[in-house]
Amino acid sequence: MSLLWRNKQLRVGLAPDRIYMSGARAIELAANDDGSWNAPVAALASSLGGMKGEAAVVLADQFVRYTLLPYNETLKTREQWLALATHRFNTLHGPRAAEWQITVTETAPMGARLACAVDRALVAELMEVFGKANMRLVSVQPFLVVAFNRIRKTVGNGSCWIVVEEPGRLTLALIQRGMWIAIRSRRADSGWRNLLPEILERESAFLGLAEPVTRVIVCAQHEFDTEMHDAWRAEAIAYRELALAAE
């Protein structure tokens, strides 16, 4: 895809409490604690007037469910992995998973598979909204995937935590020696910055890590002081920057 073509693409970051749009200010929405996508999609529909071309949407992790499937050499095809992911989501979330669109992708040739689920109705609604605005929706990706693809070269084959802050929630992903190990999601209040070491130590203990991972890449909604915790090597990237970054 040429640079000229890429520049014409509208990039949208869709979160429960705001909408980020490339070349425009973020649209703030009313507090939306239940993580529903109806209000953001309705607001998006009314803000697309006069636009045309292609659009790519980055979904906040609050709209997405993740699970990592350990590598299994007996599973050969994409369909087999998809069946396992569907089974896993059904086990974890119950009958709600039947309403979800599930996608599986590999993280490394012999590594875990990343399975993501999103409400099927959300994708259909987005297609309809952009279709009505005479725009073509070419991509809908979860934030964690977009953020990882942007920072993966800095991670290399090292180890780190990726921490994604969204209102009332943190998504934690652990990468160890270049391999995806775990993805966890947990509620968090406004004081999470001070509690981050404890949160990560607790997760490390839960995962039974033999050696601690002390590098943290934080994707924060607002400023994050990387010097805040001496024992941790922290880097911060603005959430908005990652959500709107062109690939």
Partner: protein, 121 residues
Amino acid sequence: MQRIELDFIGRSARLRWGPRVLLAAALGLAGDMAVSYVQLTREVRSNEAIVARAKPHQSVPAGSAEEVALARDAVQRLGLPWTKLFAALEAAGSRSSPTRRAARSRSPAKARTISRRSATC
């Protein structure tokens, strides 16, 4: 670490232009090949027609035995190295002139002629 390819929009929708561009390029190449093929076929046909129109070589009729003998004789004559032969003969002639004279003077016929002349005198 490898890039994660994960998108909730199907590949067919996202990459709609890619296959079209490839198809257009493939069709263009196929058309070019077809035009080249037709041109080459025409060229081959015209060349074959030229070859077909050309008269075949006529065989030379065999001559009589006398003509053959004359021809052989002419070839043999032409084949002789006349220049060298003449040069060798001239050289041999010039070298042998005094000797011949001497030999002629010593020949018995000459001697008889001389003695007969002296006897008549």
